[in-house]
């Protein structure tokens, strides 16, 4: 398969970026999207922007920087806005699980970084998502130290609750929800954590305080507010439901009422 790629290039956070166009040929349909970018980078390093390599060695074009790691859809490191959709045209996958068979031969593919005030660009397609860590540091935990905890079976948890908690805990922290939201809201991400812990007896004690602290931090870091467009749920690679946003709002309101 052959493709035309329009890729966002940006040297660093302080410079303006622009789209560059590249062509790539003979890609197998079984190739993953990120492997396709590997091949492009190999081509760029060898050939630079010109078709023929110079006599001694590679021409040394600047490869496209992109985040990736596990390449099996669980680490949440990969991102990319592909043809106007977070993680590309397939549903319930991260970009690393997207394969070229989802595109048509000859397609032009536009590749952008996550675009959101909360995620400044570091280079090309790499963005800074440290805001997510900061939100979780504000309260995304249960306050227990190592050791001195009760036996794991001391508190039975109804299977339905545990399952629902697990549904929310499946979030990989990739940021697709923020990138997709027209307001740049992090509500789906934040609510998934709040909800996952609030559903468990262990997390109940701090539920109200947790919701309040995390929402406050999210607002402080410049993420937008939720206007219920549900776009985040549509693009979440892990199918996290917006019902968690409703649950978080409940926790949040309860906390505010108590104030």
């Amino acid at each position: 398969m052959n493709f035309t790629l329009r890729i966002w290039r940006q040297v660093n956070a302080n410079t303006k970026g622009n789209f560059e166009t590249y062509t790539i040929e003979n890609i197998s349909s079984d190739t993953s999207f990120l492997e396709m970018l590997d091949i492009l980078n190999d081509q760029l390093i060898r050939q630079g922007d010109e078709p023929v390599a110079v006599a001694k060695g590679c021409k040394g074009g600047d490869p496209v920087a992109f985040d990736h790691d596990c390449r099996e859809g669980i680490c949440g490191m990969c991102s990319l806005y592909i043809n106007g959709r977070a993680h590309g045209p397939d549903d319930e996958v991260t970009t690393c699980q997207l394969h070229m068979r989802k595109f048509k031969d000859g397609d032009t593919i536009t590749i952008e970084p996550w675009r959101s005030r909360g995620f400044p660009v570091i280079k090309d397609l790499v963005v800074d998502r440290s805001a997510f860590d900061k939100i979780l540091q504000a309260g995304g935990f249960i306050s227990v130290n190592t050791g001195g905890v009760p036996d794991a079976n001391a508190i039975p948890i109804p299977k339905e609750k545990a399952d629902e908690s697990m549904d929310a805990a499946a979030c990989v922290g990739c940021g697709a929800c923020v990138a997709t939201c027209k307001n740049g809201s992090a509500m789906l991400f934040v609510s998934a954590r709040v909800s996952s812990l609030a559903l468990l007896p262990q997390g109940k004690a701090e539920a109200a305080r947790r919701a309040k602290a995390m929402v406050a931090k999210m607002d402080e870091l410049g993420f937008g507010s939720c206007t219920n467009t549900q776009a985040c749920e549509m693009e979440c690679p892990k199918n996290i439901s917006i019902t968690h946003i409703a649950r978080m709002n409940r926790e949040f309101l309860l906390a505010k009422l108590k104030d």
Binding site: D30, R46, C58, R71, E72, V126, V144, P156
Partner: protein
């Protein structure tokens, strides 16, 4: 040599060693902990749990990770589960049985004392994780559920769907976040350790590179903990994440930490087969699938031919024409034999010409029997995300047609040599989790990596490190202006500049793939003397070519992913050579290390306890010198090593 390697295993009864040891090692008072700095490198299960626990205790902790967030560490990808000797299923499990299974699974090449301790603390881990809000699978009564894993005849594996590693890591990461919020720990994401700094022979800090700006930084401490994972990526294609690397451990080796059993690498039997030249990594299908999946190839060569031509589908081959070779060869354990055994059996069938895909390197993992017995819904609940993952990659629906799988490099049992306190041969330098060698011998059992990472990080290191630091309470943190820091920083910069200056004609990946091919061919599932010698020659030639002809674009002082890769691959050449050397030295077959010269008539491993009942610990002697081999003899006081038997 015994004088050099003192494992410090406490004397006494097996079940009293750890209790006695804990009681007698020194502790540091809360007031003094505040004066002591610890660097933790890596934020997987080992690093995150250690950093959080040490921070809670009151030490001043700095934690480094190469990803943008501690949560990305590759522990997150562990699917199936974590073992613990809770005996919640009333199936006669016990600490002793978990210990015994692990020792036996490791083919009697691990230490009794360490492994018993691991089994002992396993139960605490489950308690800790539940308290943190890890949503483990539960029964309708609300109590924890278990599944079975390879090498065990009891159900002791706790799980959170097919994402157990993710949930455990999010638990440890949450504990870490809490410690960061309380200013007990400072995190340095997108930072890579490039060298260890020694002052008077003791670990006093690291040189790190800020991967965003390219700046080189000096960090000093009273102790350094490596939790930097394994080195499976030396093979290029593995189930490891793309950024997983062996460099932190390798550079520490070059600073004097011994490297133990480097040849012990685990090949996981159930990975999605290689599809082409451009493939960047291999995807694991969890061992838990072997609870319900049955592994087979056709009995008849003609069916194999038809499958390869795509003239028939697997589901069309009648039951009687299928060879469920694990059930046939190992009736007692069947599809749940340990990983090394299952991998070799797959290779044996494929070598005999029964591989079921175009490349001849694949076998079936079939769920049709289980779907008939339990219904599709149950199978979907148990493995839904794995089935989805498989379908996304291969475009084949595993509810209808069996999965195709083949072995791939997954985990490295070898690593930095550590004593019972998890300290390397460099005073003040610790190694935990996959980065050390200590608990899995020649083969790791499934669901035990998570157990070991968290055991080390939550419950062992936070105790044992005090014994060393108790001596340091009067000592000021090392000055980063010390010549040792200066020298280490200069060496790091020189090396980067050298890589950037080559401007040759091949990319880093090109050389990495070549190295991977050599490793897989000669230092992979089956090894022999001539092949290993050839591997060493070829690796040396390739390494030379790399240093003459690689092209690394860009500058050192910027975000430069190619430069990161180049430095790691440069280390992989050296590490790969040491793996081959170690494999050459060990003329026996044990665990994941299969020497073709050493096998029984029916193709099983032949151990040589007379000559090789030892840990091979290698000491660096300089760039052009052969490393020295030190032997730590393994004394089996409590278990009598026997031939591993999974047949009856």
């Amino acid at each position: 040599m015994a004088a050099i390697l003192n494992a410090k295993i406490p004397a006494g009864a097996l079940d009293e060693k750890w209790t006695n040891h804990k009681s007698h090692i020194r502790v540091v008072s809360p007031a003094n902990k505040r004066k002591l700095d610890i660097i933790v490198v890596g934020t997987g299960l080992g690093g995150a749990s250690a950093a959080a626990s040490l921070g809670e205790l009151g030490y001043r902790v700095k934690v480094f990770c190469i990803s943008d967030s501690p949560r990305r560490a590759h522990s997150i990808a562990a699917q199936g589960g974590i073992n613990a000797a809770k005996n919640y299923q009333n199936d006669n499990d016990s600490v002793y049985r978990l210990f015994y299974d692990t020792i036996k699974g490791g083919d009697y090449r691990s230490r009794e004392g360490n492994v018993y301790r691991l089994a002992e603390v396993s139960n605490l881990i489950i308690d800790q994780c539940v308290a943190q809000g890890v949503p483990f699978a539960r029964d309708y009564g609300g109590l924890l559920d278990n599944r079975s894993f390879g090498g065990a005849q009891v159900s002791r594996t706790f799980y959170a769907r097919g994402q157990t590693g993710q949930q455990l890591l999010l638990g440890a990461y949450a504990a870490l976040n809490r410690a960061i919020a309380k200013k007990q720990v400072t995190a340095f994401p997108r930072h890579e350790m490039l060298d260890l700094v020694l002052i008077d022979g003791e670990a006093k800090g690291i040189i790190a590179r800020n991967l965003v700006t390219g700046e080189i930084e000096r960090h000093s401490a009273h102790a350094v903990v490596l939790a930097s994972g394994g080195y499976g990526n030396v093979f290029f294609l593995s189930t490891n994440a793309m950024n997983s690397n062996g460099s932190a451990a390798w550079r520490s080796y070059k600073k004097g930490a011994f490297f133990a059993n480097p040849c012990f690498a685990q090949i996981h039997p159930t990975c999605i087969p290689v599809h082409g030249e451009q493939q960047s990594k291999l995807t694991l299908m969890s061992e838990s699938l072997r609870n319900d999946g049955r592994i087979w190839v056709p009995k008849k060569q003609e069916d194999v031919e038809k499958l390869r031509r795509k003239a028939i589908k697997a589901s069309q081959i009648p039951e009687d024409d299928r060879d469920y070779y694990l059930e046939r060869r190992y009736p007692a354990f069947g599809n749940l034999v340990p990983r090394d055994v299952a991998s070799r059996a797959a290779k044996e069938r494929c070598d005999a010409g029964f591989g079921v895909n175009e490349t001849g390197l694949a076998v079936f993992l079939d769920f049709s029997t289980a779907i008939q017995r339990l219904g599709k819904t149950v199978i979907e609940q148990r493995y839904g995300n794995l089935f989805q993952m498989y379908e996304k990659i291969t475009d084949v629906n595993p509810y209808e047609e069996p999965m195709m799988i083949y072995p791939a490099i997954h985990y490295t049992m070898g690593g930095l040599w550590v004593d019972y306190n998890l300290m390397t041969t460099v005073p003040g330098l610790y190694a935990i989790g996959e980065a050390n060698f200590s608990d899995h011998g020649g083969n790791r059992l499934g669901a035990s990596a998570l157990m070991q990472g968290l055991a080390d990080g939550y419950f062992i290191l936070p105790y044992t490190i005090g014994d060393y630091l108790a001596d340091k309470i009067q000592e000021k943190k090392a000055d980063t202006a010390h010549p040792a820091f200066e020298e280490a920083e200069r060496a790091v910069c020189d090396k980067m500049n050298k890589l950037l200056a080559i401007k040759g004609s091949q990319t880093v990946d090109y050389y990495h793939k070549q190295l991977g091919r050599i490793m897989w061919e000669y230092v992979g599932m089956a090894r022999h003397e001539a092949g290993l010698k050839k591997a060493i020659d070829e690796i040396r030639t390739l390494r030379k070519a790399f240093w003459e002809n690689v092209y690394v674009p860009g500058e050192p002082g910027e975000f430069n992913q190619e430069l990161e890769k180049a430095a790691r691959v440069a280390d992989f050449f050296e590490l790969g050579e040491l793996m081959a050397l170690d494999a050459l030295n060990r003329v026996e077959s044990c665990g994941g290390h299969f020497r073709e010269e050493m096998q029984t008539d029916d193709g099983e491993t032949k151990r040589d306890d007379q000559q090789y009942m030892y840990v091979a610990a290698w000491q660096y002697r300089g760039a052009d010198a052969e490393p020295s081999l030190h032997k730590e003899t393994l004394n089996y006081e409590f278990v009598k090593p026997s031939t591993r038997n999974y047949k009856d």
